[in-house]
Symmetry: C2
Subunit: 189 residues, 2 copies
């Protein structure tokens, strides 16, 4: 008899709970797949963009996740033009693809001072590069890291929907929406 390694994939409620458990694990465990989602946005010119980010918070009750970034980065400019984004995680060991549809609030300044105070010195190096991220430089290393609270932003991502695919002996796909209190709906994979 074969034991199903992923029994949580069989039912909508356990599948939804598993997605959140793995997001929470990504915040605490730097080796967990959800530690490094891919964030997709739409540029002001209408191009889709995708880049690796670090998951800094996950709140299953509020249905939100946080990402930290430089306030001057291209992703912030894109989110100012279109606050809709997608987060993607492929968890190979769970055979699980998680796709989040999110709306993003860009928090900075006094409202993130308490979060900034808890960012370790080493991580602060990521906020305040001079010149700003994406600017042309004449040679590869002509930039300086100048940690700067004014450059620190928190992207608070409110999850509106989740599209989840589990690849097993039989593939399963489900969609969960905030509007239906995450009740879930099976989809053809």
């Amino acid at each position: 008899m074969t034991v199903d390694p992923h029994p949580w994939a069989a039912e909508l409620d356990t599948l939804c709970a598993q997605v959140w458990a793995r997001l929470v694990r990504g915040v605490g465990d730097r080796h967990a797949p959800a530690r490094h989602p891919t964030l997709a946005t739409v540029s002001p010119e209408g191009w889709p963009e995708a880049r690796t980010v670090v998951l800094r918070a996950a709140d299953p009750v509020a249905g939100s996740v946080d990402i930290h970034t430089d306030l001057r980065s291209a992703k912030v400019a894109s989110l100012r033009a279109n606050h809709r984004a997608a987060l993607h995680v492929w968890d190979a060991s769970a055979h699980l693809q998680t796709r989040l549809e999110v709306t993003v609030s860009i928090l900075s300044g006094p409202e993130v001072a308490a979060i900034w105070a808890r960012v370790p010195d080493a991580s602060r190096q990521s906020y305040g590069t001079m010149p700003a991220p994406g600017q042309h430089i004449a040679s590869a290393l002509e930039y300086a890291k100048q940690p700067e609270a004014a450059s620190f932003a928190v992207l608070r991502c409110t999850v509106q929907a989740m599209d989840v695919v589990h690849l097993g002996p039989h593939h399963r796909r489900a969609r969960f929406d905030r509007g239906t209190h995450w009740a879930g709906q099976w989809l053809a994979p």
Copy 2:
């Protein structure tokens, strides 16, 4: 004396060549990171979307890559509305993030018959699910796989630009554009 494990990251031309070498490796080696890029598109409603895909071809000379998909999938509908897409690969062992800006041609029918003829039977199961991918179903397994050449599409992605980040003792970031024949430009990371 420390040996630099990634000497190719120091110069624009070697960095560009390395990116293409790793894309080509992704086509042939199912364990290579570039085997499974994340494809980002914009939905007809303006939402960014991201999902894992399989890299099926990479042509450094033409500057193009291929992905196979079901012609009835949501990504095809999105690409019909906006043919601009992004491909993202995070290669952990190379400390390398590759982001491709691509324009996509959707090929199907007779023009992909020769490619379909070479798709193994096991892989053909992915094209022709009934009902179509993303349709609501009453329970998780109420779908059937009916391999169907008419549902097979090749997404031919013409690379317009590449944004590459190497994370080393010093981070490096560069942009390469088709319009400047991939000459490359260093950017602040």
